[in-house]
Amino acid sequence: MTGPLEAISPRDPAHGALPVTAMSSDRVAGFSRWLTKRPIGEKTVGIVVRSLSKKYGTFQAVKDVSFEVPTGQLVALLGPSGSGKSTILRIIAGLERAENGVVELTGEDATAIPTQNRGVGFVFQHFALFRHMTVRDNIAFGLKVRKLPKTEIKARVDELLELVQLSGYAHRYPTQLSGGQRQRVALARALAPRPKVLLLDEPFGALDAKVRDELRTWLRRLHDEVHVTSLFVTHDQQEAFEVADQVIVLNYGRVEQMGPPQELYENPRSAFVTEFLGSVNVLKGRLDSGGTVVAAGLPEPAVHLQGPGENGPVSIYVRPHDVELTHHRNGAPTWEGRISRITPLGGFVRVEVVLPDRTDVRVQITRDRFNELELNTGEPIFLVPKDLKVFFENEPNSYVI
């Protein structure tokens, strides 16, 4: 799983109204040139991580992790807490030392380079703004330590203040700003010294839901305009999907799978990825020697396979919107159940169905389809799975279909 992430997922251009859009396009282009300042056409990979391992005492936090982040992309490291994602980010920044492995930044081996000279911008979850400095001094910090001329520093800080839409706040102290504003200052501060790569550690984790949502979309817009190679850590699947070009899913310190968000969602290669990315129904079942998967306690086969020789207990994963509801059998493999609960959720309706073996299956259908079917609690109903994933139960990484 070390291949470069190639494809770029199509982006929905219709994100909500954003501060960045207020800027004229040539100004933005200027920023992007200024921030990257790299010869056009140079082909290097932004971040390369090879065979990274890290232990804390006896706890193996990172196990043989390898991946690449192509130049100019925004990639998410997604995983539950304790999956090693923050540790990997901190190793890339040089804030932690790995026992094994190599970190390359824009084609240069950075493994032995101290943090100060790596040219990384780092955004912390709790902002880490210097409390005794104004917004201007915070952003200027990385330029001042490089002893740049004062006029140059001032000009650059002004540009960045405008970029993060905080021009009127230059003389405030961090404690006089809201959480979202603080995180924008932190971002400006990290971008000021023109980093090779930008690393963000749960950048929206300390913000409330509404601000988080706005800042997420804003970050995506900002990245589309400044194109600095970025890697961000999150435990929020939706956040990763909304913001990132590519997603790297981590579990127990290992890379489970990586790729564009849609590809991960449609073709998860392990039970973990299937369960972690969005809600899913899990049914117990068996794969028999004839290549038929049968859900436990159900008379009908769920699906016929082109016979992989093995057989054994399997888990069947079905997403709520991948199930069709009908009143009549139509020839396709069908499970019969009884409607236990109907929950209208705005544009769609969630229908919970109990199968004969008491397994609950959640189904999500559109409001129109719901009205068409005229469903009522307690009624019998047929479930037609349109798409399902099957994994062997004792080897959750071996994908059956």
């Binding site: 780092f122 912390f124 880490a128 210097f130 990385g142 330590v145 404690t175 501060r189």
Partner: protein, 296 residues
């Protein structure tokens, strides 16, 4: 609502809370008794003794008081005290910050031991501290018997008094700075590293400004204690008038020799300096907290 209003809200709320407690509810007899007891106890122990001293000193008007302070003995004793205080404060501030940084940022064998030993000067009686120095540096002490023949006098001389003052004032800066460093964490320093700052630049521009209030407080306590130190200095000084006599030793001698005018005058000056130190400290602290809106 302007952002300004939003930010000051917590302070505003605290103020109205306190106000409503005073205006809204009338106090019960129990509450009045409690307040009376606190004020009374404080008066008995602090205010009345202070007043008594001031009254005794200024009984004959200001002129005798000022004359007493003009005495060469008094002036030399204060000169000695201020010199030792300045030296002890500078040394223990630098060493104290270093110890605090090591205790909070480094993990090493024996860290707990160092952590505990830092408090030793609090626990040990100053007179015992002085005695420890005499045993070590005295004419027949481990180091003293080696130093004396070379003409280096430590005990019953100024170096011993400096050492004694250094010993008793070690914990102040350390104890004020350690909790501030712990609360601060190392994320700010890491942020500075990622921005390209060296360790030295990070220390001066990030760590030091973040802990400056802890340092200031520790420095104030160090100064106050150095000015007032008596026991440890008494043991090691030999109390040679005009040579190894500090302000506190002068006061001690004045009281003993039944010529207490100078002693009283010197006492009032010492008390006044300590009082000003604490008030000034408090004032600056509040002033800067307001400007930065920060609570650390």
């Amino acid at each position: 609502m302007t952002p300004d209003l939003e930010i000051r809200l917590p302070a505003e709320m605290m103020r109205t809370d306190a106000g409503s407690a005073e205006v809204g509810r009338s106090k019960t007899i129990g509450q009045w008794l409690l307040i009376g007891a606190v004020v009374g106890w404080f008066s008995l122990l602090v205010f009345i003794p202070l007043l008594a001293l001031a009254r005794r000193v200024l009984a004959g008007g200001c002129t005798p008081f000022l004359n007493a302070l003009q005495e060469p003995e008094v002036r030399r004793a204060f000169g000695m005290t201020l010199g030792i205080t300045a030296l002890a404060t500078v040394v223990n501030t630098i060493i104290g910050i270093a110890i605090a940084l090591v205790l909070t940022r480094q993990r090493f064998r024996g860290r707990a031991l160092v952590d505990g030993v830092v408090d030793l000067p609090f626990a040990v009686s100053p007179i015992v501290a002085g005695l420890m120095l005499v045993v070590l540096y005295g004419p027949s002490g481990w180091i003293g018997q080696w130093l004396e023949p070379r003409g280096l006098r430590v005990v019953y001389a100024v170096p011993g008094m400096i050492l004694a003052t250094l010993f008793v004032t070690i914990p102040f800066v350390v104890r004020e700075v350690v909790p501030v460093l712990q609360e601060l964490g190392d994320e700010f320093e890491q942020a500075a590293y990622t921005l390209g700052a060296s360790r030295w630049q990070t220390f001066w521009s990030v760590t030091l400004p973040s802990i400056r209030w802890g340092i200031m407080y520790g420095v104030t306590l160090t100064i106050a204690r150095s000015l007032g130190e008596f026991g440890a200095v008494l043991v090691v000084s030999g109390n040679v008038i005009g040579h190894t006599q500090t302000a506190t030793l002068y006061i001690h001698e004045g009281v003993e020799s039944f010529h207490p005018e100078g002693a009283y005058a010197a006492s009032v000056v010492l008390a006044a300096i300590s009082f000003l130190l604490l008030v000034g400290m408090d004032w600056i602290r509040k002033h800067l907290e307001f400007r930065e809106g920060s609570s650390s």
